[in-house]
């Protein structure tokens, strides 16, 4: 869902339509809007699962303070999706616990 006309903020800004790859599935987004906004608009509310109890987390403070909305973006875990602008082709993965790090050496590397 999106708020197209807001009683105080007025009309939603328009922008280029882009595609984000979220857990392997493409969703539509507007370039430059926060990743979390695009995810909410696409109907997705759970952004990650916690490390200790494996509980689902979504948007909480929505202004970059609480880090509840972190996801793995282009292979980088712990990215605050509420303040990170969406760009075309971004690969976004829901994060479980610490997440999986790109380029991380494996325990039994040659």
């Amino acid at each position: 869902m999106r708020v197209d006309v807001h009683p105080i903020l007025g009309n939603a800004p328009t922008g280029k339509s882009i595609i984000l790859l979220v857990d392997g599935r493409p969703i539509k987004a507007i370039e430059g809007e926060p990743i979390a906004a695009a995810l909410l608009a696409s109907g997705r509310r759970v952004l990650r699962h916690t490390a200790r109890h494996g509980e689902p987390r979504g948007l909480f403070c929505a202004l970059g303070r609480c880090t509840d909305c972190v996801m793995t973006v282009d292979g980088q875990p712990n990215v605050r999706t509420c303040v990170t602008p969406a760009r075309d082709g971004m690969v976004i993965e829901s994060q479980v616990g610490l997440g999986r790090w790109k380029h991380l050496p494996l325990e039994k590397e040659e």
Binding site: P77, N78, L98, R100, W101, H103, L104, P105, E107, E109
Partner: protein, 371 residues
């Protein structure tokens, strides 16, 4: 002055050293009051990286005592009854990023080899990568010591505090020692708290860490422990790629990296500096390149209590009967030894451990002065 408490031993300082001493004394039947000028677990003990070992500690007798202490840890954990995140099965790596460092560590190793206790060796890069996948492909080698390890200091601290409470140690917070009551023969009779009241006791243990110099001065003893500031950076957590503790850099159970190390002589100032964070992160990235992608979430500092000869103070002060000192870098490694030695001295009047070299009065002898 009003006497507010009476006890057998007052332990001054609620760090890992003070709590270990208080725990062993209480365990061996002594009535103990532990005082801290702030609160137990608020000083150097909770601002360090928790390495336990003897690598490159000189003279060799200091390395030997450190390893002895490391070997006492599992037994102590058993007595304390709770896990402290002890890692002693993986050894300890000191990485060599340059040929010079490799040469330096090799020659330090030669010196250590004069001791029968030492089991360290130099390691080729391939072997290092096998036990530590996260380490840079650019290293020249490493020094490896199978007897060293580490623990989680915050756990150790609170497990000790809880154990002290369980064995009946009374703990007073916001209780700064401001003086001593001494008897005719200079014997300890009590400890003055906050210029306000007296704790009457025949024994006082100065375990005040970097603040021990002040507490020694109150009975006319000069020990010259000075603050050497270290800073630590904590990164966001990542999956475990460095399960073996290293010097200046370790990854803890929760996945965070602890990045050190600097030595700064700036008095008791505990602020942190961007110069230090730049230097420490540069070195850390050279050692473990993936660290470049991790974010730093916290920077803090702590004060080591260093002495001019590099070894701590441990023992009774012969001139002031009933006064004991157990202080100085490194408290985490030596906490079990401090606990055993001081409780031996107070309960049995003697100890089996070789502590002559750690005599707190050695500084006065070297100065050739008696205050």
């Amino acid at each position: 002055m009003q006497t507010r408490h009476e006890t057998e031993v007052v332990v001054i300082g609620g760090g890992v050293v003070g709590c270990s001493i208080a725990f062993w004394l209480a365990k061996r039947g002594k009535d103990v009051i532990l005082v801290d000028m702030n609160a137990p677990g608020t000083g150097t003990s909770v601002a360090c990286s928790g390495l336990i070992g003897g690598t490159f500690k000189f003279p060799n007798f200091y390395m030997e005592l450190s390893i002895r202490s490391a070997y006492m840890y599992p037994k102590m954990v058993e007595e304390l009854g709770e896990e402290i995140g002890l890692r002693q099965d993986r050894g300890f790596l000191s990485l060599c990023l340059t040929e010079e460092t490799y040469k330096e560590y090799s020659s330090l190793r030669e010196e250590h080899l004069k001791s029968p206790v030492y089991r360290g060796r130099m390691m080729a890069p391939r072997e290092v990568w096998e036990i530590q996948p996260g380490v840079s492909r650019e290293i020249v080698g490493a020094h490896y010591n199978p007897d060293d390890g580490d623990c989680e200091v915050l756990r150790l601290m609170y497990v000790l505090i809880r154990a002290c409470q369980r064995v009946g140690v009374r703990m007073l917070r916001d209780a700064a020692v401001t003086g001593f009551a001494l008897g005719g023969d200079n014997r300890v009779e009590g400890v003055v708290i906050n210029h306000d009241y007296l704790i009457r006791a025949p024994n006082a243990v100065n375990a005040a860490g970097v603040w021990a110099t002040e507490v020694a001065k109150m009975v006319g003893v000069t020990i010259d422990l000075y603050p050497d500031r270290g800073q630590l950076l904590i990164t966001e957590p990542a999956p475990m790629i460095c399960p073996t503790p290293m010097n200046s850099l370790k990854q803890v159970r929760t996945g965070h990296f602890h990045i050190g190390t600097v030595h700064e002589l700036v008095g008791f100032d505990v602020s942190v500096t961007p110069t230090a964070s730049a230097r420490m992160t540069k070195n850390a990235i050279k050692s473990v390149p993936i660290i470049a992608d991790l974010a730093v979430i916290r920077q803090f500092s702590g004060l080591r209590g260093m002495t001019r000869d590099g070894i701590p103070c441990l023992g009774a002060v012969s001139r002031v009967p009933g006064y004991y000192i157990a202080a100085g870098h490194s408290g985490i490694t030596l906490a079990p030894v401090h606990g055993k030695v001081i409780s031996d001295l107070i309960v049995d009047g003697r100890t089996d451990l070789p502590i002559d070299e750690y005599d707190p009065l050695r500084f006065e002898r070297k100065n050739g002065s008696q205050s």
